[in-house]
């Protein structure tokens, strides 16, 4: 997997390149907007991480220019501007996700993996299957090892999101954004309570446990034991 990182701050770029390299990505770097746009158009990447404020060319302008050339490479925008407007503008410009500085690397990695997964053409599937856990998206029912599991509507959406990103780490803010449709900072462990309730329903009485807590990052659903 090749990732292009367009970031003008050398230290941040080093940190991103090192972290992504350790996570198994091949990383190319560009320190300004023009170089970044040149690389983005001349090379083939699986995803790009673009800082919003760059010398030479605005990060959003790069995304707009790529989209105008029908380049659909997933883009994660990094920005110190975290207001509601800025987010909306970033996503309207064609960014696939928007992460506000400062961020945890685990958050960035989780979001990047989610973007890469989103490209996989499984959107048309009507059932999701992870191990012996099955989700019927049309009938809105869940089964594990053939036994029906009773889920509330929100729990269903939560499980659907976790299953679509099976094997990946999803963070609490990602869950809030994608499952609840809100972007905010809860002061308490609201998400944890929802996840632990879901865990009660899908893992209790079954083996192995599938819904794992990843310390310092978020959650991961997988068929294998952690």
């Amino acid at each position: 997997m090749r990732i292009l990182v367009i970031e003008d701050d050398a230290e941040t770029a080093d940190y991103l390149a090192k972290g992504l390299g350790e996570s198994g990505f091949a990383v190319d770097r560009a320190a300004d907007g023009r170089e970044g746009l040149f690389l983005a158009t001349s090379e083939k990447y699986d995803a790009m991480v673009i800082d919003r404020m760059l010398p030479g060319m605005d990060g959003l302008a790069i995304v707009q220019s790529l989209r105008a050339q029908s380049n659909a490479t997933p883009v994660l925008i990094l920005s110190a501007l975290g207001q509601v407007d800025d987010r909306v503008r970033g996503l309207q410009a064609g960014g696939d996700d928007y992460l506000t500085k400062p961020y945890a690397f685990s958050e960035l990695l989780a979001r990047l993996q989610a973007l890469l997964r989103r490209r996989a053409p499984d959107a048309a599937a009507t059932t999701l299957k992870v191990g012996d856990l099955e989700l019927d998206l049309l009938a809105r029912t869940a089964r594990r090892a053939g036994k029906p599991i009773d889920l509330l509507p929100r729990e269903f959406r939560l499980l659907e999101f976790l299953m679509r990103h099976a094997g990946q780490v999803v963070t609490r803010t990602m869950l809030l954004e994608r499952v609840w449709d809100y972007h905010f900072d809860p002061q308490t462990n609201v998400i944890d309570v929802h996840v632990s309730r879901l865990r009660q329903k899908i893992d209790k009485g079954f083996a192995p446990a599938m819904l794992h807590t990843v310390r310092g990052a978020g959650y991961r659903l997988s068929a294998e034991a952690a």
């Binding site: 975290g82 207001q83 509601v84 407007d85 909306v88 400062p102 929100r154 609840w180 449709d181 809100y182 972007h183 905010f184 900072d185 809860p186 002061q187 308490t188 462990n189 609201v190 309570v193 929802h194 309730r197 310092g216």
Partner: protein, 486 residues
């Protein structure tokens, strides 16, 4: 703007000339002068025309009389009459007198009060009225005259002295000159006076501005009490200065608070990392130190994000993203998100949502505000307590209430808890940044909503009363009914 402020503040004449009021006065003065010149000129011209017409009429009647004499008595009668009439104009120096001269063909005078035929008149054909310029020895100053050639080439000149007309013309011209001078002088003087008065008021405002620039932030523009435009300008400037001062004070408080709130955790983190370095190279200890530092960083970031959210709401910069928001579904969403957490804490959550009109707002911020209220209730209500969230219409707007039966807040302290970082003594031991309610207050202010902390007997009841959404431009509002086809 290279002039030093002190010099700029002085009112030199050059400065006066550059004022708008003075320039206006100068322009009006010039226009007025042109009008005066036009009026006087017209009067002058009309007066001269009238005098000329009268002179011509007098000459004509004189000629008629002489012609009658000539017809009845011939040349002898004419000579006699001319002599008589010329003698009657005894004092030719007096204005308005008539001029006569009868000569033979060779211009030798026969009768009349002119000593000789004027050189100018020799070239003039008969029968034409013409102006005769004075010749010293001819005995006439300025005159208007007519010449006749009689039988035997006798010549008759009849005219009227124009010195009277000249005097009048000079008088009128003089009056016009003085009038014009007076008009311009008065205009300039009035302009200078008005300009000076206005300049004084403006200078007072400028001086205040300069003092504020120099750092005397409490300085305000003085009002004259006249209630005029300058007073209104001063009032607006003062209101603006008050607002700026409030914002600056707010900024200073925020900075102080951030410094206070971030310095502690940062110092702890530094100490922890330094201690880890000092100790023996034990990987488990390093790991513990790093994890502790990360946890501390997370707390710092949470505080930082809360401060930024408040700043965002307070700055009012999100006004353009205001959209119609249905409070009911929004509150239901928050309740749904928090219900398990409340249940976990042994609290029951009651939801009471009645239909109400949509409010104009920022969905994300409203969600955060309601979430903060629920988190607050969750934090301070003891186990077994009840939390209630209600939405309903209030007047033309909508109201949202979050109530609990916890310890509540004493009435005297309710204003205080909305300030940043204020945590009541009994709350010191519970975790939290102390920013939750200040964010709610900031969001309420942004939405023009009333934030009310009341008594739930027992417990706290927080009400947010929203004004009705402005009805005008809401293209996305579902409630807007399509206009009848036109």
């Amino acid at each position: 703007m290279s002039a030093p402020p002190a010099a700029a503040a002085r009112m030199g004449p050059g400065r006066l000339v550059r004022t708008t009021a003075f320039r206006l006065a100068a322009v009006y003065g010039a226009l007025f002068a042109v009008a005066v010149v036009a009026l006087f000129g017209f009067l002058y011209w009309r007066t001269l025309t009238l005098i000329d017409a009268e002179t011509d009429a007098a000459i004509a009647s004189e000629i008629a009389g002489l012609a009658e004499q000539y017809r009845q008595h011939g040349m002898v009668g004419l000579v006699r009459t001319v002599t008589q009439r010329a003698a009657a104009q005894s004092d030719s120096a007096l204005g308005g007198s008539n001029v006569y001269l009868l000569t033979r063909a060779d211009f030798t005078p026969l009768a009349g009060n002119l000593k000789r035929w004027p050189a100018e008149a020799r070239r003039t054909p008969a029968g034409i009225v013409f102006d005769l310029r004075g010749e010293e020895d001819s005995g006439v100053g300025m005159a208007r005259a007519r010449i006749f050639v009689l039988d035997g080439n006798f010549r008759l000149l009849v005219g009227r002295d124009l010195r009277q007309r000249e005097k009048l013309r000079a008088l009128v011209a003089e009056a016009l000159g003085w009038g014009l001078a007076a008009t311009v002088a008065l205009g300039l003087l009035a302009g200078a006076l008005v300009g000076r008065k206005l300049l004084k008021r403006v200078e007072a405002i400028n001086r205040t501005g300069q003092r504020i620039v120099r750092g005397e932030l409490k300085e305000r523009v003085a009002l004259t009490g006249a209630g005029d435009e300058f007073d209104r300008l001063a009032e607006n400037l003062n209101a603006m200065l008050d607002q700026i001062e409030r914002l600056m004070t707010g900024m200073r408080e925020v900075t102080d608070n951030i410094a206070h709130d971030l310095r502690g955790p940062l110092t702890r983190m530094k100490a922890r990392l330094e201690l880890a370095l000092l100790g023996h190279a034990d990987p488990t200890q390093f790991r513990a130190a790093i994890e502790g530092a990360i946890a501390e960083t997370d707390r710092l970031l949470a505080t930082f994000n809360a401060l930024l959210s408040i700043a965002e709401a307070e700055s009012g910069a999100v006004h353009q993203t205001m959209q119609p928001v249905e409070l009911g579904p929004l509150a239901a969403d928050v309740a749904e998100l928090y219900a398990p957490a409340l249940e976990e804490k042994g609290l029951t959550l009651a939801i009471d949502i009645k239909p109400c009109p949509p409010v104009s707002g920022v969905r994300q911020l409203l969600f955060q505000a309601i979430a903060n209220l629920l988190e607050n209730a969750m934090k301070y209500t003891p186990q077994g307590g009840r939390v209630r969230i209600a939405v309903g219409a209030e007047g033309a707007g909508a109201a949202l209430t979050v109530a609990d039966d916890g310890p509540g807040i004493p009435a005297a302290l309710r204003g205080r808890v909305l300030e940043r970082y204020v945590r009541l003594d009994q709350a010191r031991s519970t975790p939290g940044s102390g920013l939750g309610l200040s964010l709610v207050a900031a969001v309420a202010k942004l939405h023009g909503a009333r934030l009310e902390l009341g008594d739930n007997n027992p417990g706290l009841k927080v009400t947010l009363g929203f004004p009705p959404a402005p009805a005008a431009p809401q293209p996305k509002a579902k409630a807007a009914e399509p206009a009848p086809a036109s």
